[in-house]
Amino acid sequence: MAIDMQSKRNGVGRRDFLTGLARTAAGVGLIGLGLGLYSRRAASLPAWALRPPGALPEDDFDGACIRCGLCVRDCPFDMLHLARLGQDIPTGTPYFIAREAGCEMCEDIPCVKACPTQALDHGLTDINDADMGLAIVSDQDACIAFQGLRCEVCFNICPIRGEAISLDYQRNQRSGKHALFIPVVHADHCTGCGKCEEACILEEAAIKVLPRHLIQGKLGEHYRLGWEQRQRAGGALVTPDAEHRYNLPEGMRYDHGGEGLIEAPGDAPFPSDPLDTLNRGGSL
């Protein structure tokens, strides 16, 4: 009875008020759930779309980028685009497609300077430190360099020529008298600008730029390369090096430094007494 009186006075009763509140909250909550789930799906960036230089890791980027397109506008080469609704790229975020037009790696990095947030990290001041992706020679069967044909287009167009992509000279087994000029990408120097993929002369590029995490390998943390450790320490850290002894005719020995089989008078590999061999350090 008291509640009825009150509801008449205020126009709305406590029960009505609470029901209305719960209904609104539930409705808005459902909208929020829908939006949240949709955004999880819509936020994924396909591997063929690359971010401008300085872009944060994708999860952070999606939160930082306010979709203004200032980087797109400030790119002097017009190679950046803003994703449209319906594309597989998060709507309104900047991207480029290496095969269509790679990043020209401007020294003053205007796209980063234009960014009003830190979605493009303003800490990036040297374009050579950019990490838009990593190039990979993805198809050795298609790449004509592996067939022994001269191409080297990716090597020559690379803005960090000779460092991000180098040529590895190999013997051409087919002709037996020519060299293969094999392009090799170096992950430490490659910025993922995409010029190599753009320039690749094939119908479908045999060198591609992909997000670094998809293709870059990593040694286990515990792994040490012996020759590096030895150089750093100035000598062997475990058992001292002992020259390997081959079973060669007396007075001969083998040199790995390029000399090959050489005469070494008085250097019989194995004295007649086996105990001497063992006493000499135990190495055979």
Binding site: G32, L35, R40, I66, C68, R73, A114, P116, T117, Q118
Partner: protein, 325 residues
């Protein structure tokens, strides 16, 4: 364009005079769009970016404060230009009235105004009602989602940025969202988007809470109840207190919902409405007007107060046997 719902007693005025604010507003809305869209077509640049964040003539950064807030709630720290841009926008709308953005800048206004106009022309009466407070819920949701998910969730559907970005950088399927807003306003809830749901407008409304620019009805005694102003107003609930002096309300429209579109000013044949500048008090009077109205009363109150204090002092002095001149 608009048929008065009941014939006004005042003589009809020329079309241009009845639409001068509307034309100004359209000129402003389209002009802003043109500044973004046209120069790039000729290889130049005037205003770069879009309403989310822009740079005009390489010197004036402007950033949408709600967007920047969402971005920061995901845990990201903007660059200096972002902060300056958002600060400028906040100051601008804090002075001019937040929802001035909605009626003078926002491109979605073109869509929803068209829907409202079509409703009137076609005489569509159908449509449900939803609470106007839903936009505050939406604003809360829009700010909560980045905090929870770490992503700018609202930007995946926000019709405001979808339309503006779409016009400048290309739509994709974004026009579908605008079509949805249009049909929703036309057939489902009249003025249902801007006035009831849009969190961007809600945010700007909050920014302009204390703005000193108002629409007012200083000549409200002339009103002949033709209802023209209520028909054109996108937020008709804001007019009534000021026009009808409900509960002793002053003539200033002090609701933060008012978009200051100025349509009520121009459609009124009896010229009831006008602009009012100044800080407004609780009751819809400008503070300076209230002072002007009641100086004598205030003087009387002050004298009375002084008299009471003097009396109590005298009593105290008598109690303590001290003589006061």
């Amino acid at each position: 364009m608009i048929q008065p719902s009941s014939p006004s007693t005042a003589p009809a005025r020329p079309w241009l005079q009845r639409h001068r604010w509307l034309l100004l507003r359209r000129f402003n809305q389209l002009g802003i769009l043109a500044m973004f869209i046209l120069p790039p077509l000729f290889g130049g640049m005037f205003a770069a970016g879009n309403l989310s964040s822009s740079m005009t003539l390489d010197i004036l950064p402007l950033t949408d404060p709600l967007l920047l807030a969402q971005s920061m709630l995901t845990g990201s720290w903007p660059a200096l230009t972002g902060f300056i841009g958002a600060g400028l926008v906040v100051v601008f709308y804090a002075l001019l009235g937040g929802r001035v953005f909605c009626s003078w800048v926002c491109p979605v206004n073109l869509v929803t105004d068209f829907a409202a106009w079509l409703r009137r022309r076609l005489g569509i009466r159908a449509g449900g009602r939803i609470s106007r407070s839903l936009r505050w819920w939406m604003l809360g949701l829009v700010l909560l989602l980045p905090l929870v998910t770490g992503a700018m969730v609202w930007e995946y559907v926000n019709p405001v940025s979808m339309l503006h970005r779409g016009l400048i950088f290309g739509f994709g399927w974004a026009w579908l969202i605008l079509a949805a807003v249009f049909l929703y306003d036309l057939l489902v809830v009249p003025r249902g988007w801007c006035g009831h749901l849009c969190p961007v407008g809600a945010c700007y409304a909050l920014i302009g809470t204390r703005a000193p620019v108002h629409i007012a009805a200083p000549r409200r005694e002339r009103c002949d109840d033709c209802m023209d102003c209520f028909t054109v107003c996108p937020e008709p609930q804001v007019i009534k207190p000021a026009l009808k002096a409900a509960g002793g309300h002053g003539p200033v429209i002090d609701s933060i919902d008012c978009t200051k579109c100025g349509r009520c000013i121009e459609v009124c044949d009896r010229e009831v409405f006008g602009l009012a500048l100044g800080w407004v008090g609780k009751q819809g009077f400008l503070n300076r007007d209230r002072d002007a109205h009641a100086p004598a009363e205030r003087r009387k109150n002050a004298l009375q107060l002084r008299e009471t204090r003097a009396a109590s002092l005298r009593r105290e002095a008598q109690d303590n046997n001290v003589s006061i001149p």
